[in-house]
């Protein structure tokens, strides 16, 4: 089973390593967490991942750490290297966990090139990726939150072309965009690079008849 991190000190020591460390924020009452531990156990026994360190952390017992990473639900698996968050997986998704451990186990320079692009530039290019751009939890086929789901339904009904970005897949964008746009919640809808707002505003525009014209600007 993954090594249990008992306190903040242990967490710091584990994640500061240069090796890829996988930290599973768990709760012993959540069935899905037992499943994730099995997945991590299986990965740890594979030769390819002999340099990867696997840990579990009882989220409710170490609030200082859990709050720092805004852990709202379990299981949440965060990958670290040298104290930096490398990736996050929400929920028991064995294939995603495996894919990400595999992806980040690579020590190539190619990886660091992507991370070196300043966040603000990344945000700007993401916002302008499509005329209508939605930052949401999940994607249009599998929204991961009620607000995001409602937004997708409304957008689909308008028939407008749009693209989405899953903020659950990238913690840097998730937090960075809130600051960049001075808007604390998701989903966030942008048209031609301008923030329109969240679900409440979209619903109001729909009711007042402004939505179609705003989206097609």
């Amino acid at each position: 089973m993954p090594t249990v991190l008992k306190d903040e000190k242990a967490f710091e020591a584990a994640t500061q390593q240069e090796n890829l460390s996988v930290v599973h924020f768990e709760a012993d009452w959540a069935e899905q967490c037992a499943q994730v531990n099995e997945v991590l156990e299986a990965l740890s026994s594979q030769k390819d991942y002999s340099n990867v360190k696997f840990y579990s952390l009882p989220a409710e017992d170490i609030p200082e750490v859990s709050l720092r990473f805004n852990i709202e639900a379990v299981p949440t698996i965060i990958l670290f290297r040298s104290g930096k968050t490398v990736d996050i997986i929400n929920g028991v998704d064995a294939s995603k966990i495996t894919e990400k451990v595999q992806k980040h186990n690579v020590h190539s320079d190619g990886e660091s090139k992507v991370k070196d692009v300043p966040l603000e530039e990344r945000l700007k290019s993401l916002i302008n990726k499509s005329n209508v751009m939605l930052f949401m939890k999940g994607d249009r086929n599998a929204p991961r939150c009620g607000f995001s789901k409602q937004t997708i339904e409304i957008l689909n009904n308008t028939g407008v072309q749009y693209e989405t970005f899953d903020i659950l897949s990238d913690e840097d964008v998730r937090q960075g965009l809130k600051t960049y746009s001075d808007w604390p919640t998701y989903p966030q809808l942008y048209v031609n690079g301008d923030l329109i707002g969240g679900l409440d505003i979209i619903k109001e525009m729909l009711a007042s008849g402004e939505l179609a014209s705003t989206l097609n600007a």
């Binding site: 989220a59 709050l67 001075d182």
Partner: protein, 92 residues
């Protein structure tokens, strides 16, 4: 796939966000409001709120700016809740 942590059990500070806390903050910042309604729709868990504010202090601001103003005021509270529905209006 996912189980929600009982945030109120381990949050630091004075526990979950309350409807009273939000209402008081809004009353403070919008002294001219003709109506402030805050409803905890999560059954008292402080996780989801419906907020409605009618005040002349919104005059001249776009809906988005009105929402942004409220979000700024409730910055600390929003950090600790799961979500909120916001309705802002100018008195007729």
């Amino acid at each position: 796939m996912y189980s929600f942590l009982k945030k109120s059990e381990y949050s630091q500070g004075s526990g979950p966000v309350t409807q009273a806390e939000i209402t008081n903050k809004l009353r403070q910042e919008f002294p001219q409001a003709t109506r402030i309604s805050v409803e905890d729709t999560s059954g008292g868990c402080g996780a989801m709120f419906n907020i409605s504010i009618v005040t002349s202090e919104f005059k001249g601001l776009s809906v988005m700016k009105q929402h942004r103003l409220v979000y700024d005021i409730l910055k600390e509270q929003i950090k600790n809740i799961h979500g909120l529905h916001l309705e802002t209006r100018v008195p007729k």
